[in-house]
Subunit: 164 residues, 4 copies
Amino acid sequence: MKIKIFTTGGTIDKIYFDQKSEFQIGDPQIVEVLKGANVTLDYEVSSLLRKDSLDLTDADRIRIHDAVSADSCRRFVITHGTDTMIQTAQALGDISGKVIVLTGAMQPARFRMTDAVFNIASAVTAVQLLSEGVYIAMNGRIFRPDRARKNVAMNRFEDLPETL
Amino acid sequence: MKIKIFTTGGTIDKIYFDQKSEFQIGDPQIVEVLKGANVTLDYEVSSLLRKDSLDLTDADRIRIHDAVSADSCRRFVITHGTDTMIQTAQALGDISGKVIVLTGAMQPARFRMTDAVFNIASAVTAVQLLSEGVYIAMNGRIFRPDRARKNVAMNRFEDLPETL
Amino acid sequence: MKIKIFTTGGTIDKIYFDQKSEFQIGDPQIVEVLKGANVTLDYEVSSLLRKDSLDLTDADRIRIHDAVSADSCRRFVITHGTDTMIQTAQALGDISGKVIVLTGAMQPARFRMTDAVFNIASAVTAVQLLSEGVYIAMNGRIFRPDRARKNVAMNRFEDLPETL
Amino acid sequence: MKIKIFTTGGTIDKIYFDQKSEFQIGDPQIVEVLKGANVTLDYEVSSLLRKDSLDLTDADRIRIHDAVSADSCRRFVITHGTDTMIQTAQALGDISGKVIVLTGAMQPARFRMTDAVFNIASAVTAVQLLSEGVYIAMNGRIFRPDRARKNVAMNRFEDLPETL
């Protein structure tokens, strides 16, 4: 079973760039994480973008969409900033015949205390077990994008409240 | 959805005890891992044993078996030494109506470079998606115990070779 | 021998604040570092400021100066941003009878790969061995502020080149 | 100023060897630590031994002694197990014209929470500032071997109590 991994930026890959006293998006960390855990899956990583998800444009989302739909692979993990992860997930909703799991992190993978490793593992595991569709793996849970939201104040993803 | 977590020892929880120049099995690390990743699942952790899996006896396996079967919960993650994880998994094979995922680590969770976080995340995610049965989550993959083995030399779990 | 530690901010204490997609200066990390290394010295930590050193004003430097000179303690470690550490060190040059060592970090202490622990240890050790004066502990070396500079491109402190 | 570093084993360099369910002494970590902190000193590392310090023999101590005395370098850091660090330090007491600082760690450098980085930094800094003699750098302090002991129960080095 092969998994295609696309990285698009986000907090998960941020580094601290001392010369400019700021955080920037660095090289994707997912390969280090998978190797560090001795993951024996057949996977391939491709860096599509390096953006904060608040800066993603419609053109960027089309690019992500086309990268997935044009690929003959069936299972995809996409690392993405958490701010607009749901939006991108929804933009992939019309792709059939594929299992797509988006994940990211609230704390950069390069931090000592980070959710990055956990979330990557969650997404990589989920993508092997789920049936076709688009999902979000955050906070140890799997969400359908249409039924989830990012609760910024509480720093987590959760189910949309039930609506009448 | 509630998950019951049982810890039984193994490398995943080993600590270095300087006074005796040796490793010992310390307090289970899984709660730190789940909190560190801001996991929002409803879970409960219970420490059943603190043993190297090579030291587990039949009585120990019966104890693990009974803890699972007597529990009204449906979904279980069991952290366990990797050496006899498959054996314990097989001993749980007669329990119906439950989803049971065993995991562990080749490097202690307290190490800077460890597979512990990844494996815990993998197991916690898989137990929410799998149907009833017993499984092993290691190296980023989900195995059926009857079709897996631990390849000690290569430091990983893998499928049993096809037999004629 | 008692050591007084003043924290003033800088990269060493930066955290990633996801809600604002930016870094901020968080709680000083030096106590965690000293406890984590089981440092048995008699020390006291006081947080004077939480600023990037590029944002320090003359009033801030006077504040640091007065905190040191008014304190009956003889030995001081000051954690500080690296950009203007030399400037602050020079502003302390008129204080007699005290050993003052400034240090900081190029990568936040909360990162997995950081120079923070090393630099704190270097400063805390140096302040016990040096005679009165003001010094900078960075990159494993001890510098006199008047004979050092921060080489931003190379990300390190070094001796000023010899001048005729 | 050049520093010669000799590694002799000890807890500081222990690794977990899963195949044998035990800790072994692995490749010396000091170079990783010095590089990770961007230490700009001129140093050279030589691995003399890989032993628990409880297993060091007189022949081993002679070997360490001769490596130091035969070397034209003036400043030495020796990483060593903590159990008999004082004993080895005392065996080097007759070497004149050199500054020798021994250090080690209670928790392996490969652990997430370790005193290794702190202690290495302390020793590397102290060796540049001290005058000739043999010293121990542990717990943030510099000890003369004849006036120190390892308090095993409290997991730290301390001054010998004053004797009448």
